[in-house]
Symmetry: C2
Subunit: 217 residues, 2 copies
DNA sequence: TGTACATCAGTGAACGCGCGTTCACTGATGTAC
DNA sequence: TGTACATCAGTGAACGCGCGTTCACTGATGTAC
């Protein structure tokens, strides 16, 4: 099957009303995310491809984004916000048991990457460096970007609660939360990159439990 | 500072003697690796850029590689071979103590990524999927690619020795080696992607020790 | 030993393509009078 | 209420660029006789 790339825009697209031009920004972002998720290739997110997907002409993007990199950067930032939101929801929905809450966070993290593999890879691809605000005094999480900070705080909080309830023996929940994040990231990224690695069935728990210093049940 | 891209090849390059044309393949590969390590961007490894770097014209590449993707794939494969070699050397040089040997493997792994961040990211970028041979019965490491299998075996071996000498309480060294690899990968990849994450000082040990189920000293 | 020839390593010009970006523009719509 | 006008959303054509790939070629070198 040959994919025909058409340059025609969806002809019926109504232009936004006066004063509502900013709405297009949202459509452009959505188009970029769709492109990323469906093509599975960051390089497919070109300015022209995004415009085609959004049903507009390429120059129409410039009033909303200074260039192509800015679009990808916005996708990445929104990705981090969504990831943080979903961790938050998962933890909230997990009830009162501190162990369940930590499990829920770990599961939601890996799940996000499984549902949006290419977006996850782009988020952590490094070119856009959204995790850190720069600077980066070693060991000081305050240098994280705002959304990354949220994620780190959710993990740290869940782990601290486990310590408080005697479920974890961690003596440094802040540092161990970073270690846990690294472990989850390793699994999430690897699953997002290659679909056929021979994982043990309980791989999430096998990674998250020791890194969280959970007491053996 | 503006980087001037010159199309001129190094004029003095002597052509290989008759029958030694295959030598150029090595030079092309080396040029691609240099490009990847110095530009820090996989997208910079174009067929033409590789040719410029190698001091030849673009069409000269075709007798040696069917196309640009094949060059990157070869770079990735060589990267896996080098990584496996370095793990092997590090373990061999670490003496007899099983704990030291496992530490050496972990350290060498993270080190490789730190020394060649862009190459590491490309290796695990997923587009080329070099880790798995496909198929991928869950839990069966035999479906790994040859070099990935070597890496996994080194980790499994080091971990098994720790179990044998009472340094690790792992009850499933094969599965825990996968978990350890995932953890090391998470750290290696994240360090290769963003230089300024606020890592705890003992991050490697903080990840590797619990995943290996090392007994607390 | 000398010479014609086949082979081989690599060249140079050319192609069509999609890209990012620019520029002048069009036509609908809200607003001032 | 009617009309002229400014503003705004988005268009369409064009540019120069580097890319991957093709093709016919050149000139050095080993070899057969």
């Amino acid at each position: 099957v040959i994919t025909v790339i058409t340059n025609r825009r969806t002809p019926g697209r109504p232009r936004n009303r006066r004063g509502e031009g900013r709405l297009l920004r949202t459509e452009i972002l959505a188009a970029a995310m769709e492109l990323l998720d469906t093509t599975g290739d960051e390089r497919a997110v070109t300015l022209r491809a995004v415009a085609r997907r959004a049903g507009i002409t390429a120059p129409s993007i410039y009033p909303h984004f200074p260039g192509q990199r800015a679009i990808v950067l916005a996708v990445v930032q929104q990705g981090f916000a969504e990831l943080a939101d979903q961790l938050c929801s998962a933890v909230d929905a997990a009830g009162d048991d501190s162990g369940h809450r930590l499990d829920a966070a770990s599961g939601a993290y890996v799940d996000f990457a499984a549902r949006h593999p290419e977006r996850y890879r782009t988020m952590f691809g490094g070119i856009h460096q959204p995790v850190s605000d720069g600077g980066g005094t070693s060991g000081d999480p305050a240098t994280l970007g705002a959304e990354a900070m949220r994620i780190w705080r959710i993990l740290t909080g869940a782990l601290s609660n486990c310590v408080a309830s005697g479920r974890s023996t961690s003596t440094n929940p802040a540092a161990d939360a970073s270690a846990l994040w690294v472990g989850l990231h390793g699994l999430a990224h690897q699953q997002a990159a290659t679909t056929s690695y021979p994982w043990p069935a309980d791989i999430v728990h096998r990674i998250a439990a020791p890194l969280s210093h959970l007491v053996v049940a």
